[in-house]
Every structure is written in C-alpha cells, then in structure tokens.
C-alpha cells in the first residue's frame, strides 16, 4: 500500500485554480498566457451523443453520383455530338434554376448546395433523346424539380424519382419528340437523320409481321455495338460499358447496394431468356434485352435512388425484382417498346409497402438460442 501514503500538501491543481502561485503585484500589462492564466469559463456546446461523425454527407454522395455519370455522359457526347451537349447544359441549368426559384418562392432555405438538382438534371438529360428541343428540356426540368420533388417538400420527401417523373410527363405529353431518335453522327454532329433503337426496331418489325430473327438481321445490332453504345436511344443510356464503370464506382463507394442492379438486371435476363427459349420467333434473346433500352441506366442510376427505394437490403432486392418483372412485361406485351421508366416509377409507389414488410429482424428476436442456452 504505497499510494495512500503520498500526503501531498499543496497540489498543483489547487495552485492553478488559485490563479498563479507567486502573489505578484498587479501586472502593468496582461499576464502572458501561460498555465497560470486565470481560470476562464469556456462556452461549452452541450448536445446529445454521438460527438463524432463519419466523414460523409449528402453533397458528397451526390457529387460521387455525378462522377459516376461522367463516363456515360462522355460516351453520349461522343456519339451524339453537340446536340447532346446542349441538352445536358439546359437540363442542369434548368434544374438548378427551378430548384432555386421554387425554394425561394416558398421562403424555404436554399438547397443548391446539396447537389441533388445537378444529379436530377444530368439524369433527366440522359433520359431524353439527343435532339430534344430546348423547350422540351425546360419543361422536363420543371416537371422533375417541381412536380417530382419540391411539391412534396424537397429532397427526401419525394416518393418518385424526379427525373423519371419528368420523363414520363414528357413521354405522355410529347410522344413524337420523345421518340425521335437522332442517328449517331460523331462528336461534331449538330443535326442528324433519325435511327431506330434496338427495341423499337423489333417492335416495328413485329408489327409488320416479321419475326424477331428477321428484324434482328435487318437492324444490325450485334452485342458489341450494344456494349459500346453504338445504337439509337436516349442520350445517356446507350453505352453499357460506360454505365457499368460508373455503377461499379458507386458500388465500391457504398452509395448503391448490389441488390438493386443485380436484382433488376438478372430478373430481366432470366425472364426474357425464358420467353426467348419458349418462342425465339417472337422474342429477342436475353442478351439483346439486357444490353438495350435503358436497363443499365435504370438499374444502376435510377432504381438505386436512395430516396425512392426501400431502406433494407432485402427490400431493395424485392424492389429490384419487381422493376425487372414490370420491365419485361411492358417490353414483351405492353404498349411501349421500353418499360424501365414505368417499372421503376411503379415500384417507387410500392416502396412504402415493401419497407413495411421487410423490417429487419431485431437482435434477439430468434428465441432458439435462448432456449438452447437455458437447456444447457
């Protein structure tokens, strides 16, 4: 017992608290700030735990999404040329403008800093045909930001993916402009002839009584062209490889969960595959379906939208399978050649329901081990 013997008389803390040991005459100038400085009462922040935070915030996530979109955007610009650049510019500027104006009008704090309007603008542009006239893009921005997001209260409250709301509004209101696909002319194209999309070509062929193999022979879309992006379609959906690159980046960063893209794409592959095995005359092969249309754009960048998809992994997978199924149904038997957008929007509507039935299991909900332990 040694420690209780230390009978320290004057202890340092006491000295420090008393304000300096040598009782010096009042100094002419303020004492130099050393450890004998008079005790001061700092103003303390009092808040609930935790007192630390992971270095992650919404603007950073949104910026990562922007980076992830870059490969897809660049390929689009390369193939579709300056017309595409115009669409991108107007879409982003328009979304920022409407976001700013609407928040201001309602007297709510500005939200441009969260970068979500930029993401919405880019995604909207990627879901439009390359030659979209400027007014179409502006209407799209209005629909995305105001109808899709702000009337619900802004980011986090919107039930539907804003860019897809805009796309569907435009598709229903301006079907001709929304289905006029400029041919890919190269980086400097301004105007161009129109071309068919892979899925559109098949539908057209079927409608004039051709079989799918005949249509595919005529349309000339080998798999490598689909992978690279040499085909008609929306601005940002054409290059599977570029989109995959961005998607993998987001997966790595943890901003999207594999359950969504894998569930979505695998479902489309499996079900179109089943249909194709059943009747190859009527249905295109699964690779063709998987690599065309907006599937990769939708699976990696639209269905993964955090706000409008379920919060649990299990929920995400169910959501993704639902997206895949609806996509296949629309593509094979519906009124439109492509169904990714509708599928995602429908599943957005189902998200609260999915969340409800996919509550995670509470720690200790399983009683088995408990009984075992009691028996032991």
């Amino acid at each position: 017992m040694s420690m209780e013997q230390d009978k320290t008389g004057a202890s340092p803390p006491e000295v420090a608290a008393a304000g300096g040991d040598p009782p010096a005459p009042p100094p002419a100038k303020p004492a130099p700030p050393d450890k004998a400085e008079p005790p001061r009462a700092p103003r303390l922040v009092v808040s609930t735990s935790p007192h630390v935070h992971r270095d992650q915030d919404v603007p950073r996530i949104m910026r990562s999404v922007v980076w992830a979109l870059v490969p897809g955007i660049l390929v689009g610009l390369w193939f579709f040329g300056l017309a595409a650049l115009q669409v991108y510019a107007i879409a982003v500027a328009g979304c920022l403008l409407f976001e700013w104006a609407f928040r201001r009008m309602l007297g709510r704090p500005g939200t441009l800093g969260d970068w979500s309007a930029v993401v919405t603008g880019l995604l909207l542009a990627m879901n439009l045909p390359a030659g979209s006239p400027w007014w179409l893009v502006v209407v799209g921005c209005l629909a995305a930001i105001v109808l899709g997001k702000q009337i619900y209260g802004g980011l986090g409250y919107n039930p539907f993916n804003p860019a897809l709301v805009a796309r569907v509004v435009l598709l229903v209101s301006f079907p001709v402009q929304m289905t006029t696909w400029p041919a890919q002319g190269g980086p400097l194209t301004v105007d161009a002839t129109t071309a068919a999309t892979p899925l559109g070509a098949i539908r057209e062929a079927l409608s004039v009584g051709q079989t799918v193999p005949q249509a595919m022979a005529g349309a000339d879309f080998p798999v490598w062209k689909l992978l690279v992006g040499m085909r008609g379609g929306c601005l940002g959906e054409v290059s599977v490889i570029a989109l995959l690159l961005g998607g993998l980046f987001l997966l790595r960063k943890g901003h999207i969960k594999w359950q969504v893209p894998v569930g979505f794409i695998a479902t489309v592959f499996l079900f179109t595959g089943a249909a194709w095995l059943g009747d190859p005359e009527r249905y295109a092969n699964p690779l063709y379906h998987t690599f065309s249309g907006g599937l990769f754009l939708g699976a990696f960048f639209m269905a993964t939208d955090m706000v409008t998809s379920p919060v649990t992994r299990r929920g995400m997978f169910i959501f993704a399978v639902g997206c895949g199924l609806i996509t296949v149904i629309i593509r094979l038997w519906g009124g439109y050649p492509e169904g990714v957008s509708f599928a995602i929007l429908l599943m957005n509507a189902a998200t609260p329901l999915i969340d409800r039935y996919t509550k995670p299991q509470v720690f200790g909900a399983k009683r088995k081990l408990y009984e075992e332990a009691k028996a032991a």
Binding site: M1, D6, K7, T8, S49, V311, F363
Partner: protein, 441 residues
C-alpha cells in the same frame, strides 16, 4: 462470431501508450449522492463533520442503490445541491481535504475471497459502493443477485473498450492484470460459475496477453480477441461474439445465463475485498485535441473536473465541448464545476473544429443507419416517427431495444440527430405505456 451492423469510427487511441499517472491530492472534493442507476442514497454526514478516507457519506436509498464514500480525509463543508455530470444540480457532499489523507478506521481488509462465502462477498461489494465502471453505473451487487429462475452459468469480462479515444481499461489491463484476473475469480465465486470468458478487441492484443499471463491457475477462463468494431463492448453484442448466444429482444444477459462486468469494476471488486477499499478512485482517460497534455489518470471520485483539466495542462483556447465518457455515448458537460464520478471512464475535450452538429435535415433514406444498427432496428423510421410525434407507433418498431449506441447517427449523411430523437421517443412511449397501465388498473 461477428455481430451484425456496427461501425468503424476513427479510434484516436493516442493515450494507449501513456502509463496511468497518479493525480495528486486536491483541496476540495464534491461527491454526489447519486452516482449510479437507481435510487440516490441518503446522506449520513452533515456540515462540519470530520470524515476519514473511505468513510461512508451516505447509506443506500433502497436495494438498487449504493453508498458513496469520502475520497480523502477532511471536513464536510456542505451537503447541498451542486452541479452534477448528468445535468442539473443534485445533492452532493462537499469535502475540504485536510491533506492527511488518513483512512477511516472502518476500512479493513475483508479477507481472501477464495475463502469467503458468496453472500458475504456480495454484501461487502455493496458496502464498498461498487457500480459498473464502464459508464452504465448499475450497482454491482444487484447484478450479482440474479433471480432464482435465471441462473448464471457464464461470467464475461468486458475488455473491449470499443469507444474511440478511451484507453483507461487498456492501461488497467496492462498495468494491473493480476488484480483484474483476481477480480474475475472473485465474481465467479460470488456467482458460483466455473466458466469465464475474457474478451478484448484485437487492437489491444497486448492487454489480452497480459491478462492471460496473469490468470491464476485455478480459474477456467477462455481468452478471446474480438473483431475491432463498435459497439463490440455492448453487452448483447459481446455475449454474442463470445458465446454465440443471443440475448432475447427486451431481455437481459441473464436470460442466456451470462453476466458481464467491466475491467475497472473487476479491479475495484478485488480491492474492495483484499484491501477493504470502497470505490473512491478510478482510472480515467483525459484526452482529445482540446486538452494540452492527454493522460491516463488514477483519480479520486469527487475530484472537480477543473482540477483534472488543470493537471493535464489545461484546455486549449478553442475548446468547445467537454464530454464525460467516449465520443459515441458520452455526455456533454455544461459546466467545468462538475466532479469526476464513479462512471467517468474518460474526459474527452473537443475543439471547435471537431464539434459535430446534428441538424434536423430530411432523411434521404440511404439506409446507412439500417446497415449500421447493431440491434436490427430501422433508425430512419424511428427518427421520422419521433419527429412527427407518433410515439405509439414506435412500439411496432421495437424502439425499446435501441441501446443508444449512436452508430446510426454517426453514419447518417443527412446528419440527423437520430439518438436525440430516439431518446425522446423512448421516454414518451414509456410515459404512454405507463398511462395505459394505470388506465387498465
């Protein structure tokens, strides 16, 4: 075994290599009567009384309650309301030290625990004012008195110290491994168990080795290195990691025959029996970027925080937050006049630049909190329900199982104050449930 969820915060355990320093005796001590979960004690001294070191200042206010003791010898200058680390003011005994630091005559060794009767050991621990020193401060003797239908078969020593910044347990394991292991044996004796586990996070392998080497040969103890993940030291997660048993939702460790004690408590228990010391000192880590000389200190319970900070070179100019405990679950202090209490495992001083502001921004439903929650809850939903005052709906989402570990808020990109919301929600739900019960009765 690995538990689900959890997070990997920055550990900032820079004080791990600093040996425990003895804090010199001060002039004034403030000993709050409520330093544990449960009823506060009743004072047994009055202004003007002389007290010896280790003399009881209060008597327990019920079964779930313990006494507090004089940290040194001196004179009682007041028994009054004074600032308390848990907020507000609470009754405390103020002692002016006489510098003698003379033991009270009642402090005598209780004997060798191996030869003592479990009930006598338990009573001695109660009289020593023992509480869980990891921060929860639940009276130890109560924990050691499980109901007859819930026999304890396994004792677990919690050396995880998963809270960032804190290194007090780490140092105790390194410097006093024998006392720790004797404490383990003592607890096993009280409980009549033959099997014990010692769990230490893998970043403190040296501590585990020290304990292993110091383990008395008559104890059957399994030593395990645990995954470095917060909240590894949370009882339910620790039990799962060590034994694979899952404490049922809403249940207690004793439901799976386990009992967990913290490293500091083990040492205090050993000292309470072998030396007769009541719980009047503990090891505390004083750390953070806003303290000039971070230290691991052995200090007396009741030492004013201001003295402790001064002994560590004082706070920096840009200090903005002083927290009792670690950064994940610690309690921010509103004043520097509060004393160190039995549960103060650390004093974390954060500068302005490191203060995190949790705002009530909208949830973007990213699911990060869901992945992080070690209890399998939906923190996002809980947060939204609390925000909208939908207290009763919280029941469906098992809010009562939240251990307030803070993992959810830590990783929320929208900086939602999830723990704050959930704490409020829990309280409101309890209130409603109570009213319901009264209505039914």
């Amino acid at each position: 075994m690995k538990f689900k969820g959890g997070i990997h915060p920055q550990y900032n355990k820079g004080t791990a290599a600093l040996p425990v320093e003895e804090m010199p005796l001060g002039a004034r001590y403030v000993v709050p009567l409520a330093q544990h979960l449960g009823a506060p004690g009743k004072p047994v001294v009055a202004k003007g009384d002389r007290v010896g070191r280790g003399q009881p200042l209060s008597e327990p206010g019920g079964f779930v309650s313990v006494a507090v003791h004089a940290p040194t010898s001196g004179k009682v200058t007041a028994v009054k309301e004074l600032p308390h680390p848990l907020g507000l003011e609470m009754t405390a005994v103020e002692i002016e030290a006489d510098g003698e630091d003379a033991w009270w005559e009642g402090v005598q060794p209780r004997g060798a625990w191996r030869e003592m009767d479990p009930a006598a050991l338990r009573d001695a621990l109660r009289d020593a004012g023992l509480v869980g020193m990891g921060g929860a401060t639940f009276p130890t003797h109560v924990k050691l008195s499980p109901p007859k239908d819930k026999p304890i078969g396994t004792f677990i020593l919690n050396g995880a110290e998963c809270e960032p910044y804190l290194t007090s347990d780490h140092r105790v394991m390194l410097e006093q491994p024998r006392e720790v292991m004797e404490g383990v044996g003592l607890f096993m004796k009280v409980l009549g168990v033959t099997k014990a586990y010692v769990g230490v996070e893998a970043n403190k392998a040296d501590a585990l080795d020290a304990l292993k080497a110091a383990c008395p040969p008559d104890l059957d103890v399994a030593f395990a290195l645990l995954e470095v993940k917060y909240p590894q030291g949370s009882e339910k997660q620790l039990i799962y990691a060590l034994t694979g048993r899952t404490v049922p939702a809403g249940g207690l460790p004793m439901d799976v025959g386990c009992l967990v004690q913290n490293v500091g408590t083990a040492v205090a228990a050993y000292e309470a029996i072998a030396k007769g010391w009541p719980l009047i000192q503990r090891v505390t880590t004083v750390t953070g970027a806003a303290i000039r000389q971070p230290k691991n200190l052995r200090l007396r319970v009741g030492t004013p925080l201001g003295d402790v900070l001064a002994f560590c070179g004082g706070l920096t100019e840009d200090v903005a937050k002083v927290v009792y405990g670690g950064p994940m679950m610690g309690i921010a202090q509103f004043s520097l006049d509060v004393p160190i209490i039995k549960g103060t495992s650390g004093v974390l001083c954060l500068p302005d630049a490191e203060v995190v502001q949790y705002l009530a921004d909208a949830c973007i439903r990213c699911g990060a909190c869901v992945d992080a929650c070690p209890m399998g809850l939906l923190p996002s939903t809980l947060g939204v329900l609390c925000e909208r005052d939908r207290w009763e709906d919280l029941e469906d989402f098992n809010v009562a199982d939240c251990i307030e570990c803070g993992s959810c808020a830590f990783c929320c990109p929208a900086y939602r104050p999830l723990v704050q919301l959930i704490k409020r929600g829990k309280a409101e739900l309890r209130r409603i449930q109570k009213m319901r019960q009264q209505g039914a009765a």
